[in-house]
C-alpha cells in the first residue's frame, strides 16, 4: 500500500524522530511511504485562536498537498491534527464561503488516519511484538490526549499496541482522561490555569512510579516535558511511534529520549547504499546497539 505521511508541523520541526519512527513502522510492514512535499500544518493553531481567515490558506495548502500526490491512505502521528482535518478544515472552508474546498477537505480527512487507528483498523496490527518486532524493556504509563480520545474515539487502540510490545510494562495512569493543560495558545494565554493542569498531570504520572509517559501527540508532550523540567520533575514523555519502532536490533535507549534530533544511526550513510567508511560505521553501530 502507498501511505502518505502527514508529519504535522510540530513533529516536522521539533520532533522529526517521531515522523521517522512512523515511517520505520510502515516500511517494516512492507508499505511505500511518501512525503507530500507541499504539506505544512493542519491549521489548528489558527482555528483554535479564532483566526479563521488566516487559517484558510493553511487549509487550502494542506488539501492541495494531499490531493497532488497519489496514495492509498495518509497517516499522521497526532490525534489532534487528524481530528482537526475532519472537524475544523471543512468548517473553515465553509465559513470562508468555499464549499468546493470544504468537500475536498472532507475527502482528504476521510483518507487520513491517526497512527494507532491506521495500524489497528486498516493494517490489522494488534500484536506489536509479533507483527512489528517492537521491543521496549521499560515500565511506562500512557496519557491519551484529548482529541484522540474524544474526537477520534481511539479508545484502547494505543494501549492495545503498547501492551503488546515485547518486555514493556504498561502502568495505568490515574485520571488519565484529564487534559494535560496544553490547549494550543491556551497554554500562554492562560498560563496559570494551564500550569495548574499540568501540575496535576505530572503528579499523576509520578504516582505511577514509571517516570516515563507515552502518548500520541507531540504538542502535549512538548508542554508536559517542558513543565516537568521547569518543576524539577524526573518525568519524561515519549511518543507511541518511537516505542513501536524500537526493536531488539535498534532499540530506543532511555538516554536518547531527551534529544529531539533524528538519531545518528539514521542520519549517517547506510551500509548497503555505499561501501564507504560511513556505511561501515552505521552498520557497526546498529550491531552495537543490539
Amino acid at each position: 500500500m502507498k501511505i502518505a505521511i502527514f508529519a504535522t508541523c510540530i513533529v516536522d520541526a521539533m520532533y522529526p524522530k517521531v515522523a521517522l519512527a512512523t515511517v520505520r513502522i510502515l516500511e517494516r510492514l512492507g508499505h511505500d511511504v511518501v512525503f507530500p512535499a507541499g504539506q505544512g500544518c493542519c491549521s489548528q493553531m489558527h482555528v483554535n485562536s479564532g483566526y479563521i481567515d488566516e487559517a484558510l490558506p493553511v487549509v487550502r495548502n494542506h488539501v492541495e498537498a494531499f490531493t497532488a500526490v497519489d496514495y492509498d491512505v495518509a497517516v499522521a502521528p497526532s490525534g489532534s491534527c487528524v481530528a482537526s482535518l475532519g472537524h475544523q478544515q471543512p468548517m473553515v472552508a465553509r465559513k470562508c464561503g468555499d464549499e468546493g474546498l470544504a468537500r475536498q477537505a472532507e475527502e482528504v480527512a476521510g483518507r487520513t488516519y491517526e497512527l494507532s487507528e491506521l495500524l489497528v483498523d486498516v493494517l490489522g496490527v494488534t500484536d506489536a511484538e509479533k507483527q512489528l518486532g517492537s521491543y521496549f524493556p521499560h515500565r511506562i504509563t500512557y496519557h491519551p490526549s484529548c482529541h484522540g480520545l474524544r474526537l477520534l474515539g481511539l479508545g484502547d487502540r494505543p494501549t492495545t499496541l503498547l501492551s503488546s510490545v515485547e518486555d514493556l510494562e504498561l502502568v495505568e495512569l490515574p485520571d488519565a482522561q484529564e487534559c494535560c493543560g496544553f490547549g494550543g495558545t491556551f497554554s500562554f494565554k492562560n498560563p496559570d490555569v494551564s500550569g495548574a493542569m499540568v501540575d496535576a498531570k505530572i503528579k499523576n504520572i509520578e504516582s505511577t512510579g514509571t517516570g516515563l509517559c507515552a502518548g500520541g501527540d507531540s504538542s502535549c508532550q512538548l508542554h508536559m516535558n517542558g513543565a516537568a523540567r521547569r518543576r524539577g520533575s524526573e518525568v519524561r514523555t515519549v511518543h507511541l511511534a518511537e516505542i513501536l519502532a524500537s526493536t531488539r536490533a535498534n532499540p530506543l535507549e532511555l538516554d536518547q529520549i531527551a534529544d529531539l534530533s533524528i538519531p545518528r544511526v539514521h542520519a549517517t550513510i547506510t551500509p548497503s547504499s555505499a561501501a564507504g567508511p560511513g556505511g561501515a560505521q552505521a552498520a557497526s553501530s546498529a550491531g552495537g546497539a543490539r
Binding site: 500500500m1 508529519a7 508541523c9 516536522d12 520541526a13 521539533m14 521517522l20 515511517v23 520505520r24 516500511e27 517494516r28 512492507g30 511505500d32 511511504v33 507530500p36 512535499a37 507541499g38 505544512g40 491549521s43 493553531m45 489558527h46 482555528v47 483554535n48 485562536s49 490558506p57 493553511v58 475532519g86 472537524h87 465559513k95 472532507e106 475527502e107 480527512a109 476521510g110 483518507r111 486498516v122 509479533k130 480520545l149 474524544r150 477520534l152 482522561q177 493543560g181 491556551f186 497554554s187 500562554f188 494565554k189 492562560n190 498560563p191 490555569v193 496535576a200 508542554h223 517542558g226 535498534n250 531527551a258 529531539l260 533524528i262 539514521h266 542520519a267 547506510t270 548497503s272 552505521a282
Partner: protein
Amino acid sequence: MTVVDLGMPGTRIAYGSGNLYEETPFPEHARSELGNQQMRANIGHATHTIRAKRGRVVGELPDWQDLRDAGSAIKQEVGARLPELLEQFEANVTARGGIVHWARNAAEANRIVTDLVRAKGVDEIIKVKSMATQEIGLNEHLEGQGIKSHETDLAELIVQLGDDKPSHILVPAIHKNRDEIREIFSRRMPGTGKTLTNEPAVLAEAARTYLREKFLDTTVAVSGANFGIAESGTLTVVESEGNGRMCLTLPKTLITVMGIEKLLPRFADLEVFTQLLPRSSTGERMNPYTSMWTGVAEGDGPEEFHLVLLDNGRSAVLGDPDGRSALHCIRCSACLNVCPVYEHAGGHAYGSTYPGPIGAILSPQLTGVAAEQNNSLPYASSLCGRCYEVCPVKIDIPSILVHLRDEDVRTKHGERDDAAAQQRSTVSAAREAEAAATGAQPEPAEHPDRVKKSRVPSEMDVLMKGAGVVMSSGKRMALAEKALPLGRGALKPFGGAKWLPGMVGGWTQERDIPVPPSQSFRNWWRKHGEETEQRVARDLGSTALAPSGPGEAPSSSLAGHIEEHAGWGAEAQAVIRARAGQSSGGESTKSSDATSTGEEQA
C-alpha cells in the same frame, strides 16, 4: 456575529445585562483564585464526587445517547418555533389565571418584580433557587429598593449569609467546606451561637429552623423555572431539598422569572428531561422534588401567580446559527463538574452568574462578545472536549468557543463595529439604570485598562499572520526550518530556553523550551527518504542484513510475517473505502463516531 432574519423587521437586537460580566479578564481573575488552596481542595473533592456519581447512573441507561439526541432535538424545535410557542404558552398561562409579563432585559425584569412586591405592601420575600434571578441581580436590586429577599436553598443561603457569590450552577457554595459554613451560620443566624458544630446534620437543622419561620411569615415568593410547557401553560421546578416546594405553595403571591428558552412544546417532553437532568446534575436517577403548577387553583397554593418572561440577550443568541445551541442548556452543570479549567480556577473566575464551560459560551453571547467585559471568556478553555461529551443536550461547547474566538478576533479587527457599539451602549445603559434605581454612582462601562486602544495589529495578529504565511507552503516551511541548527546552537549550552519575551512569555512562565533538533524531518527526508531497505535492515537486525536481491523479503522470522501479510490489499481497501465513502457524505465517520460513542469513553 452572523445575524439571521427572524422575521421581525426593524427590531434592534436586545443584548443582556445584569450579572453577566466578567469585570476582570479571566486569566487575571483565575490567577488570584488559583492561590486559594482551600477553595481548590473543596472544588476538586466535590466535582470528583459528583462526576463519579453521574458516571454511574448514566452508565446504567442503555439509551442514554438516544435520550441526549431527543433532548437536543426538542430544544432545537423550541428555538425554531420560539415566537409561536411563547404566544401559546402566554395564552395558556393567562387562561388558567396567571398574569404574564415580558421583560427585554435585567432592568425591566427587576422593575416588574419590584412593582409587584410593592403592590403587595411587603418588604420581605422568600426565594426558590433560581439562575434567572441571579442573572438579573434581583436580590441586589430589591435590596436597593428596601426589600429583603431570603434565599431558601441551603447552598444559596450559605452564599447569601456569607455575603459571597455563587460559584457553581447547582452547588453555589461548592467552594465552602463545613467549617466555613459553621462560621457563617453562627455569625448570621440568630440563636445558633457557639453551640453549632460542623456536622452536616447539625448545620442542616440550623438552616431548617431558620427557614421555617420565613416560610410561615412571608407572603410573597419569587422563583425561577426549569421548564415551561407551551401546550398547557404548566411551570416546573425540580429540586432536592423541598424548600422550593414550600415557597411555591405557602405564600399568597408567587412571581416566577423564566428565561424564554426554558420552554418545552409538549407535556410529554418532560419525560426526556426528567431523565436527563437529575442524572446529569446531581447524579441521581430521579430528583426528590418535582413541583408543577398551572396558573392558580382556588384553595390550593398561591392566590396570585405572575410570570415574568425574560429575554435579556436570548433573542440575540438565537440569531446566531453557530452559537444558538447554547440556549439548549438546562443548567445541569455536568460540564462544570468535568472541566479541568473550572476545577482549578473555580467558579468566581468566570465573573458571570454562569461559570464553567457553559458560562464561557453563554455569558459572552448574552451580552455580545464585543462587550469587552466578556471577551476573554471564550479563551478560558483548553478545548479538551469533556464538556461536550457529558452535555445532556449535546451542546458542542468547544466548537462554539472557537466560533466566539473568531467573533472576538473579527471585532478587534473592526469587522463588527455596529454590534460592538450597540453592545457597549447596552452595558452603559444597564449600569445607569441600575445606578438610578439604587442611588449609587454608575460604574464606568469600560474598565479603563480594557478600552480598545487602536487598530494597530496585536502581537497575536503578527504571530498568526506570520505563522499563516510559513505554514501554508511546504517550501516556506523548509526554508524556515533551515534556522533550526541556529536555535540548537544557541540553546544547547543552556539545555533549552527558560524565558521568552512578550505574549509567548506565557509559555516560559510554566515550561522550558527544549533544545531543537538539528534538522527538520522534511529536510532530512529529502536526503534520506529513499533508504527504506537500510532502515528495515537496521531495525530487523543482522539476519535481515544478509545480501538480498531487490524485491526479496528480508530473511528474519519477522520478514516471514511481512511476506505473509503482503496480500492484505482486499481487506484494508474495504476498510478505507467504507470510511472514505462515509466521509464524502458530508458528515465524517469520525465526527459521528465521536458523538455516538463519546459517552462510552467517559
